[in-house]
Subunit: 197 residues, 2 copies
Amino acid sequence: MLYKESHILILNNVSRFINLTELEKQKYISLLTEINIKRKAFLMQAGDITSYEYFITKGCLKVYTLDDDGAPHISMFAVEDYWTGDMASFMTKEPTRYFIKATEDTELLGISRANYELLFQEIPKFERFYRMLYQKSLISYIRRSNHGISLTAEERYIEFKTKYPNIVNRITQKDLAGYIGITPEFMSKIITKVNRR
Amino acid sequence: MLYKESHILILNNVSRFINLTELEKQKYISLLTEINIKRKAFLMQAGDITSYEYFITKGCLKVYTLDDDGAPHISMFAVEDYWTGDMASFMTKEPTRYFIKATEDTELLGISRANYELLFQEIPKFERFYRMLYQKSLISYIRRSNHGISLTAEERYIEFKTKYPNIVNRITQKDLAGYIGITPEFMSKIITKVNRR
DNA sequence: GAAAAAAAATGAACTAGTTTAAGACTTTTA
DNA sequence: TAAAAGTCTTAAACTAGTTCATTTTTTTTC
């Protein structure tokens, strides 16, 4: 069977942890929903109860919250081959505190809550897939939050640039400030300073 | 069959997510190792390759790294009914960057890397248990690191005190400073200020 | 392709948290 | 139980990053 590009991408992602038979692949794909959103459109907004987890096949999204003063705090940028969503709201059916907004026209594959549960019944191997996916996410999350703590804003900027050279060029300086955890003004000063070298 | 207190605690913990038969319970327990360490002893030190994941049945531990200046950054305090360890080192067999030190005499149940793999073969339900455990950890980790970002040190202190009243009294002010992310001197000022109210 | 909107740069005044240093208090150890 | 080691407090000088206000540059929209 011939698969679409987006399906090949997600099947490759899954195959990092588990092997699927041809039948299982087709079953899995049948549980996914294709979603396309335009630049500046929201995939979710604070207050929504989200019913999907998403895999990005093309484009770029920013995931952020607004603090009490209305200032945005960006928790991640998600591009092709990334998983995103709000797992807390997805699991508990409580309203999310997150906004997820496309910074480019974006194509996604979504799995609904109902199909997520179904998936474990139909292909129990996916318990293992998600166990390993979450384990890996947890490791990199812990590493990131622990590593960042002792660095200055300038060091965090240089680190981001080095680690994600492909993302830096796709986002605004202002959004990067929101991710690094500083004001856009200070971000501007840092960039001027670093580039002068 | 009659179980030890420590075994009852871990079985209750597991039963939040999966149900085990009597036989499975006994099998599970047979894969665990009992470990006791004295106050001030290390469960692991930076450079070690850790071969266990741990469940605490009694006592208190602090998990921390040292930054380039040798200042400690505490990433968690772990007490009874908590899981701890360094998953990154456990999974990849790379040396850990963490120190885990007992702040009280502590009793743990450990599962070795070999038995962890065996567990999934013998009782596949544990894929589901760990999938759900990691999912839950990920949710609270994300929540914590995102929530903390916009608060002042004073607000983070009040939040910690409210959320973990049982832990505050078991740790030093200095260690709390290492967790909140400030100097012990500033921690002292905050506490004086908050108590004056 | 002109007008409007948003992003970036710059600078001056400000603040949350650090650093250093020294003395008081508490806990641990021999 | 005395000495040593570690913890806590206080205070003054300092710095990384914020806030606010203005101008320039870039991007978006019609």
